[in-house]
Amino acid sequence: MSQQIKIKRGYDIRLKGKAQEKVQKLSLNKYAVKPTDFHGIFPKLSVRVGDKVKRGAPIFFDKHHEHISIPSPISGTVTDVIRGAKRKMLEIRIEDDGADEFVDFGIENPENLGAEKVKSKLIESGLWSLIRQRPYTVIANPVDKPRDIFISGFDSAPLAANLDFVLEGKEESFQAGIMALSNLTEGKIYLGIGANTKSKVLLQTKGVERVQFDGPHPAGNVGIQIHHISPINKGELIWTVQAQDVVTIGNLFLKGQYDSDITIALVGSEIENPQYYQVKRGADIAGIVEGKTTPGHLRFISGNVLTGTKIEKNGYLSYYHNMITVIPEGDKYELFGWLIPSPKKLSFYRTAFSWLTPNKEYRLNTNLNGGERAFVMTGFLERVLPMDILPVYLLKAIMVDDIDQMEQLGIYEVDEEDIALCEYISISKINMQEILRNGLDMMRKEMS
């Protein structure tokens, strides 16, 4: 019997457009690797436009951390390097050549392989980038010794992919991934599982400490799970890996190659017949959403509505994401929108009337629904943040650059995704994820 933890505080945003549980395999032509998916790195290209690359070959690496390189998801030709302001590298586009050549990293049994061999294989293949550390949520440093490794086995975010479903039939790869990871820590590998999971993968994998979580979002966030199992103290390091990424790591050892396949959920109120698709990392979303959206001005999001990245209609799936959400843009004026109770609006608060329809699913748009104000209301943010953290005090400490206070108030324990719900319910419409990211960056700089 695994340990059980009940999460009481939190909030499930009820959105329309949940994915039906069926998968379609899509063969797409265009892919991209986006350096912007990796926080805090300084990308240097390993390839040039026109180069042929094999699947698994490095596309770029981090100038300051040579252990970080990002592999190509397909075998093909580099067609473009897109740069933004100040020549910031945004996308490296690759077109599939159909040859499916791959770099052979060699098949190995990961069990008791030893930390050095596992590390060098992950670093060589570029898949080291799938292991990230807390605090700061950046790619881990292989010389560190993490206290534990945490994996969340369910995603509680709005419309998130059902991991039970996407992991189905991947027992062997998942188990291999866990065995590889177990070489990397002297601590435990914790696997957070949902209350109702029946997944064989999650329930039968060996070598993990299972902890069951029951409750609303953000119970599925790995940060919340860490906090409830064993919070991060100053000076401690935790490594985290996403469940699907464990499968990718497992496949590296089982097949000796970078298997970039990933099952994604295409969801949102503007998607007709939302369902799952099997694609490769970095896939061009135009090929995925084509002909499946409703007309109108839409927002395409790689990831979920709370933490995802806004992308264009012809953008690319981000490295760590396993879903695409499409919702309407809210760039319309609304007469007395703040005053007239509208059945179309969802609110956490009782000052609007959506609490009268507790089971209704909503088609929410991207309107800010108000103007930015100073912090006024108190006591609400805590209700959607199931941590022993005082969010307003922490955010204010960050706003005034008070490093000591940030540390004292527990900045090491939180990540942007953990306070995303606070940002969503904020009456003052304050961009809290951005503030927290600034604080984390400040802290990281200070500590390095």
Binding site: L335, S347, T351, N365, T366, N367, Y393
Partner: protein, 388 residues
């Protein structure tokens, strides 16, 4: 809808940066956002946002104040005619009161919003909705006879020195509405106390003393508990009717806008102090105030109004959940203590809440400190176990 939008769209280019009337940008913005939720979409962080904003939240408080306002208007008329010995029907009384109270509301909003808009313009902010509530609170906590010029000065003082110097709504230390009241009380005591100020155009023969004044003078309150609950007696415009205030309290608590922790602990604190004072009633028979049943303390004066609308102001109250219990309790305790034990002030609610406003950050400091210490202790345990 089209018509208003067209008018606004026509004006908009002229008030924007570089436009001819840029000096009126904040005013235009306030008007525009009053009519329309803007077409601004999320650019960072969460792509969707909650449907409720500051306007709706503040509007809820104004709605909660309406019962007290309507009753107050009727009571102003009713007391006026009663003092003259004339009996009139409800509507006539209400109409008279309406005409007496309306100028107070207009002056308060005019002065307060004018200053808010000017500050928003100079700072490049949007106008914050906080004053919608303050502007409704102020007319309800002053005597109906308050001269308008005095009211204007008090509001200007409170908004500038109570709020804007700190950075506007959300940054202020004390409640602006109570600061207005305190400014009036200390600067113009003749206009704010005594028997003459509580009833509009009172006939001289009629005693216009409030129950608190009677009690301070050593008389009985002269009211039955039922009278206290209904509230048809002299007092500040909105403070007298417990029923009207209770309706407001229900709205605030049900919507969650006011903290039930603060509200409850304020009343518990008041009751506790009143019970303690009752214990001394036999030792000091000269002070008849000590004999007033504890629960009646909660019904008279500004206690109910202060406990529902004033101490629950989220900006000036304690911001931590444990702090809220302490803050409310001490507020209630002090209010009754000042009311009964200090002969100079017939009412203690205003001073108690202002004092607690200033004290709230200190309470929060210790609550936050406890959170910090817990984290530090946890880290030490880990550190020690590693070094064994």
């Amino acid at each position: 809808m089209k018509l208003i939008r067209n008018i606004l769209d026509k004006i908009k280019p002229q008030v924007q940066e570089g436009g001819k009337y840029h000096a009126f940008h904040a005013l235009f913005d306030a008007a525009e956002t009053f009519f329309f939720v803007p077409d601004v979409v999320t650019t960072k962080g969460s792509h969707i946002r909650d449907g409720v904003d500051m306007k709706r939240t503040m509007f809820t408080v104004v709605v909660a104040l309406i019962p007290a306002l309507l009753f107050g208007m009727w009571n102003v008329g009713q007391m006026h005619f009663r003092s003259m010995g004339v009996s009139v029907d409800i509507l006539d009384a209400f109409w008279y009161g309406f005409l007496r109270v309306l100028p107070l509301i207009l002056v308060t909003y005019g002065v307060g919003l004018g200053i808010e808009i000017a500050f928003a313009q100079s700072r490049g902010h949007e106008v914050n909705e906080g004053f919608f509530v303050s502007g409704m609170l102020i007319p309800l906590i002053v005597p109906v006879t308050t001269p308008l010029w005095i009211l204007a000065i008090a509001v200007a003082f409170a908004v500038v020195f109570g709020k804007e110097v700190f950075g506007g709504t959300g940054m202020n230390i004390v409640n602006p509405a109570l600061l207005t009241r305190a400014f009036l009380f200390f600067s113009y005591p003749a206009a704010m106390s005594g028997d003459k100020v509580w009833i509009a155009a009172k006939a001289d023969a009629f005693s216009g003393a409030t129950p608190l004044a009677e009690l301070t003078a050593g008389h009985s309150a002269g009211l039955s508990p039922l009278d206290m609950i209904i509230g048809a007696y002299p007092g500040s415009v909105g403070e007298t009717s417990v029923i009207a205030i209770a309706i407001g309290a229900f709205i605030l608590l049900y919507t969650g806008v006011a903290s039930w922790k603060i509200m409850t602990s304020f009343f518990v604190g008041g009751l506790a102090m009143a019970l303690i004072l009752n214990l001394f009633a036999s030792s000091f028979p000269a002070n008849s105030y000590l004999q007033l049943p504890a629960w009646e303390h909660l019904l008279i004066g500004g206690f109910a109004f202060g406990g529902v609308f004033m101490i629950t102001d989220p900006v000036t109250a304690s911001q931590t959940e444990i702090g809220k219990w302490i803050y409310g309790f001490l507020g209630g305790l002090l209010a009754i203590m000042v009311r009964v034990l200090n002969p100079a002030y017939p009412e203690g609610v205003m001073l108690a809440i202002l004092f607690m406003n200033i004290f709230a950050p200190t309470i929060d400091y210790y609550v936050v400190e406890a959170n910090i210490k817990k984290r530090l202790k946890r880290a030490r345990v880990v550190f020690n176990s590693k070094n064994l």
